[in-house]
Symmetry: C2
Subunit: 412 residues, 2 copies
């Protein structure tokens, strides 16, 4: 995409001088609207680090923001179609949004954008991912094409769901390693939505800043626990089968995935009252390095049958990693790609903090639903968690240049 | 501080291998509480980037978090003393907090900390800064020692203040380039506060991630405008006089500063309706590069008298940079060190986003107050801003090892 600088866009990175100041001076926006002068940043040094330079591809078989690593900043947004907005309006919106997402992810300034918020930053691993909620299909006359997998999630004992912060016709996930690049995408998509949709809810989260730690992959959550060790990895032979709807499904969802989104508040004051040993027993892993209590290092496979010298199970019967393990759920697994959140303090002084849990799977009935059913009954961790909101979204496959996300549904 | 590894602490960076795995293996925590094994992270690569490695000094003439650059993540917290908590309890709390802040800023794990949240990250430029609100002095029997400069801020026309999110007995500013390092500090200070204080309010903000842009110093705010260009710089001859209480004041506040804290919501939907040209006229600077409309580049001094060919002022009469300029305020200036915030959407769908404005000065009566009085009357920008909360805090000077912040007040 970096090469596809069209005459109505301008590459932020070129402006920044990474393509040379002389080259930049020749690039100006086609229209009069939002005409940032190319000489504006001519005297800036060309010194983006990897953080700013990292670029994810918008076009492709799958949407970005699923198999790539979760970024330092994330926004989850849900919208409802405005009364009167129909399938045609939705298609026009997805076309606009897709074009803008492609430009932003390539580090370009879309025509007419004079917000300037991200003008001098690199793409910073920006991804924009679009999904459809169950209600979208009724409102657009597409109920007949609603996937069977998109049935409502069952109620769980541990749920304390706020309907206002749950569900939604449309869902957008925005992630970037720079918070202003992420915010810029939020603003532009909102502006472009115009009157077609109304904001339903919006949540903001974070992960570790690149370079703050030497740990290669997995981050920590706000309980201090290394999280995501046992995630399916893109190099696994069954990764695609677990995460993406098969190509031969013949469905508009081919190449797509289903996102389960849960705002999970952590009862951190209670959690912190447990001793380290007790916390590790609840999880089943050492806190310091994520190694399973059955031995080894973080990446050592968990031995659920391991018996300690005193005759007890190394991984307790209600340990989180036992109850969540594929072996305990007939192989069910999902790709978790979460953000932590911290929204200040609640009225009682407790931290309003936890996990914006986003889990990806080819079919939630074979991923999140069976695993969460089991966790709901038997997970020692569940009494320290409160599920406060919930959503399930059908996330179509990616699109080719000139197409838009959801086109096979909306024009099929 | 990196060298001051005491026998009850353990350096995260040493564990990470930057001091060598052999050295790390010899370091274990003195007590049994929260004993993270030193071998836990032995096999980690030693590859922290500058983001993680950057260390700010806790001990010194001034507290950190004032003259050093604002970090990528910030938390502002206010506490009220619990009923019954007196001067002695406050002194004990500040002693605990100071010791913990010193350890955390040096990248060490305080004794008994088994939260683990930041275990494998470097110090990431963490700063922890403590201040006292006006009410603190009444509640601790210290009203006679309350500085004259700590009088209530006047009411401004543009204020729409929420008392619940304003003021407070104690104020803590936490900043770090990594959000988990920052969150870890929040958690530990809250835990250590015990029953001595009650959380009053807490806000979270952000700045650009290091490496996302090649711009050297000044960042953009959520209006897209480069912000902070005209800030006093540590290299300015009058920097210390503007920002810090003089050494020869003979006061417990010598070496300290006053922080004005305002949550300023930006009316971004209205702002975005203005053309780029109009936005630039409101501010007085070009959006693209921050150059004043009187000419030059970002760092060119503003020429408030410059007349354009058509006879109009290059910097409009109500332009923000004219009304805020020291020349317009008898030399009054302050050091702005802000974070942006984005807290989702309001009930009407508008973004709940803006600036966590933190301004530092030797005396607010010669800094924020006269400037804000002028802005309140004549600033073209003010109709796009809503001041939603406000606080003024006396931030004592720094302390030497073995001392704590505020000791000269609390034991003087």
């Amino acid at each position: 995409m970096a090469e596809q600088v069209q005459d109505d866009t301008i590459s932020r990175r070129r402006l920044l001088g990474t393509a040379g100041a002389v080259g930049a001076a020749g690039l100006v926006m086609g229209g009069g609207a939002g005409a940032f002068a190319a000489d504006a940043v001519r005297d800036e040094p060309a010194a983006l680090s990897g953080v700013g330079e990292t670029e994810r591809m918008f076009h492709g078989k799958h949407q970005a923001g699923i198999a790539d690593p979760a970024q330092a900043c994330g926004h989850l947004l849900a919208f409802d179609l405005a009364p009167g907005a129909d399938r045609k309006a939705a298609a026009a919106l997805l076309r606009r949004w897709s074009a803008t997402a492609a430009e932003l992810m390539a580090g370009e300034v879309p025509r007419g954008d004079d917000t300037g918020i991200a003008l001098d930053a690199g793409p910073s691993a920006l991804t924009v991912t679009f999904g459809f909620g169950r209600t979208f299909f009724d409102r657009t006359g597409l109920a007949a094409r609603r996937p069977v997998a998109l049935q409502p999630l069952p109620a769980f004992t541990g749920d304390a769901l706020d309907a206002k912060r749950s569900d939604g016709d449309l869902w957008v996930q925005i992630g970037a390693d720079d918070p202003l690049v992420a915010f810029h995408a939020v603003r532009l998509l909102r502006k472009q939505a115009g009157d077609a949709v109304r904001p339903r809810w919006q949540m903001t989260g974070f992960n570790r800043t690149p370079g703050a730690t030497a740990r290669p992959r997995t981050g920590r959550n706000l309980m201090g626990q290394i999280d995501g060790t046992n995630n399916p990895k893109p190099s696994d032979p069954d990764f695609a089968a677990r995460v993406f709807v098969p190509d031969d499904s013949g469905d508009w969802m081919a190449g797509g995935s289903y996102a389960v989104v849960r705002r999970i508040r952590m009862l951190l004051d209670s959690w912190d009252h447990l001793s380290l040993e007790r916390q590790e027993k609840v999880i089943g892993r050492r806190k310091s390095d994520g190694a399973p209590l059955s031995g080894g290092t973080e990446t050592t496979p968990v031995d659920l049958d391991k018996i300690r010298e005193d005759g007890s199970l190394a991984i307790a019967g209600d340990a989180h990693i036992r109850v969540a393990a594929p072996e305990s759920n007939r192989g069910a697994a999902m790709l978790r790609r979460a953000f932590s959140y911290q929204d200040g303090v609640l009225d009682d002084g407790a931290p309003d903090a936890g996990l914006l849990f986003v889990a990806w799977q080819a079919d939630p009935r074979k991923g999140f639903v069976p695993v969460q059913r089991k966790l709901d009954r038997g997970d020692g961790l569940s009494r320290f968690l409160r599920h406060e909101s919930s959503g399930l979204f059908a996330v179509p496959g990616g699109c080719a240049p000139g197409e838009y996300v959801g086109q096979r549904l909306l024009e099929g």
